[in-house]
Subunit: 367 residues, 2 copies
Amino acid sequence: MIVTCSKNDLIEGINISSKAISNRTSMPILECLFLECNNNEFVLMGNDLEIGIISKVKATIKENGKIAVSYKIFSEIIKKLPDKEIYIEADDKNIVIIKCDMSEYKIMGQKGDEYPKPSIIEKNNGFTIFQSELKNMIRQTLFSVAIEESKPVLTGELIEITDGFINIVAIDGYRISYRKSIVESKDNIKIVVPGKTMTEIIKILSSDLEKKVTLYFDKNHILFDLDDSIVVSRLLEGEFLSYKQILSDNYNTKIKINRIELLSGLERASLISSVTKKDPVKLEIEENKIIIKSNTTLGSAYEEVDIKKEGESLKISFNPKYLIDALKAIDDEYINIKLTSSLTPCIIVPLDSDDYKYLVLPVRSND
Amino acid sequence: MIVTCSKNDLIEGINISSKAISNRTSMPILECLFLECNNNEFVLMGNDLEIGIISKVKATIKENGKIAVSYKIFSEIIKKLPDKEIYIEADDKNIVIIKCDMSEYKIMGQKGDEYPKPSIIEKNNGFTIFQSELKNMIRQTLFSVAIEESKPVLTGELIEITDGFINIVAIDGYRISYRKSIVESKDNIKIVVPGKTMTEIIKILSSDLEKKVTLYFDKNHILFDLDDSIVVSRLLEGEFLSYKQILSDNYNTKIKINRIELLSGLERASLISSVTKKDPVKLEIEENKIIIKSNTTLGSAYEEVDIKKEGESLKISFNPKYLIDALKAIDDEYINIKLTSSLTPCIIVPLDSDDYKYLVLPVRSND
C-alpha cells in the first residue's frame, strides 16, 4: 500500500473512525486502526465488534493494499507531524513507513486480512433525515437510557417510524424521554439502537443544517451513511416498553415556568444532597410560585420560582437529578409541567407542540 | 458575622484562597474555608499548614465575626447563585446562612477560633518585583524541581539575590534550570521555597505588566504580599547545591537552532518510546544539520533539523523529556546549545544574553 494525503484530511478521518476503537479489548488487533487503499478510495476503519466506523480520506493512491496499525502510536505521530503532505507505505513485511517533510517513521503493523470487517447491510430498508435534527433528537433523550443491564433492551434507544413521524425514546425505569419529528418514510419501523452507538453517532453527526444522513437496517444491524463516513452497529433484541399509554395527557395541575429558573433552583438545592446524591427535593406548588425545599444532614435549601398555575396546589418530591437532566436537554425558554398527584409521575411538555415529553417518577417524601 | 458582597468579588476571593485547601488532610477543619470580618475587612483564608492564602473581598460589614465552613459545599452554592448581592451570616451556633435573591441556604460551620492561622512574619527583610517577571521566572524553572524526597531541599526552588540580581534555580539530579533577572535590593538573600508553594503562587501572580509583589521572609517562612491577597509558606531547610561551577561556559561544539523545530522533532521521536518512556534519543550533530534518531521495540524515528555549528561534530544521547521540558519553557525563536563531549552535559542558553541556562545530563548510548 502506498498513499499520500494531507495531514488535515487524515486527522479528520482518524478522529471519526477511531471513535469505534475500544481501549479495553481482549483482541489486540482491535486496538488497531485499519487502513485500506482499494477502488481509488483510501479508507480508515475502527471496529470494536459492536460498532464499526469507516471514514473516507481524500488521497492519491499509488498502490492498493491494507494494513492494521496501532491506533495510539499512529495517531500521535500523525498529529505531531508538520502540516504538510504525508506519505504512508505498508510493505509485505507489515512495516508501516510514514514520511513527511524531514521526518521518517517506521512502525510495525499487523496483516490487514486479520482485521475483522463489520457486517454488510443491503441498502433496501432505509430513510433519510437531517443530521442536525437526528443529533438533537438523540442528545435530548440519550441521557435516560438504562445503565443497568437487568433489561438489556432498555440500554438502547427506540427509533420508531409511524405514518411519517419519527419518535426516539429512552426509558430507564425512573423516567421516559421522548422526542418526535417528521420524516419522509412510508415504512413502519421499530428498532432499538445501543446507547453506546448513539453516544458515538452524535459526535459524528454534523450540526450543519443542510447535511443529511441515511439509515439502513436489517434484522440485526443498522448502518448510518453520512457520505464521508459510515457507521455500522448491531441492534438490540427484545421488546421495548410500550410507553405511549404512560405518557397520558390527563392532569389535575398544570404549571407554566421559566426553564432556566427552575433548573438553577434545582441545581442549587441538590448541592445540599449528601455524598450519595440521593436526597430528594420537595416541590410545593402554590398559587403563583413553586417552592423548592431540601433538608439534609448537610443543611437546608429554600428556593422560590414564579409560575402560572392551572388546577390544584400540590406537594411532590423528586430525585432532582432526573428533573435536572430533562430541563438541561430542553432548549425552550418556558415549559409546561403536568401533574396528577404526589404519587404519580410529572410530565414536562412544550407550551404548544408535542415535540417532546419527559416523564419523571416522584419519590415518597418523609412528611 | 454579617456581611454582604457581590458574587463576582466573592468568587474571586474563593478561587484564590482555596488554592491552599488540601483535598487530603487528616484534620477535617483544613477542608474548610475560613471567613472573617474584622477591622472593616472581609477576608477569606485557606491553609494546609504548609501554605496559607488570605484574600481580601470588597464587602459591607454589618457585624464582625469569624467562621470556618466546608469549602466544597460553600463554594458550589456561591458559584450557582444568581449574579446578585450575596448576604452571609454566621450565628453563635455556627450556622451559616446564605441569602441571594429568592434563595436561602443554611449549612453547618465550625467555630472560627479552631481554624489554624499561618505564622506571622515581620515585614523587615523584603524585596519587590514585578508579578509578571516573577511568574515567568518560576514557570521557566519549576518543572525541574526534584520529585523524590531523597534530598528534600531539592524539592524546592532556590531564590538567590546577589548584587542587584535575582536568580531562581531548580535542580533534580538530571538537570538544572536557571533564570536570572534584575531586582532592586541591596541585601544578599538565599532561601529555598517549596515547589508546591511555587505551583500555587504562579496561579495567583498576575501577568499584568504594572503589578508588583513584595516578598518578606524570616528564618523559616516567606510571605508574598500581592495587595489583594497574601500567601504565607514555610521555607525548606538545608544547603542547596552550589550549581554555579557546573554551569560552565566552556564548550567544544556550539550550535544555533530553531527552538520549535528541535522541540517538534524531539516530541515526535519520543512517541516511539516504549510505555516506560525511558528510551533515549540520539542526536548526531553534523556540519549543517542535527539528526535525531530513536530505535525502540515500537519502531524507528528519523528527523533532521537545520543548524549553524561552531566546533566539532558530535554524537550524544538524551532522555528526550528533559530537553523537551527546557525547550517548552523558553520563549525565544532561536537558541544556542553548547556541548563538550558525549558524556558531559549540554547547556541551552540565549543567543546574546545570560537570562537563562538549562543544563541537561546525557545518557550513555548503546552503540
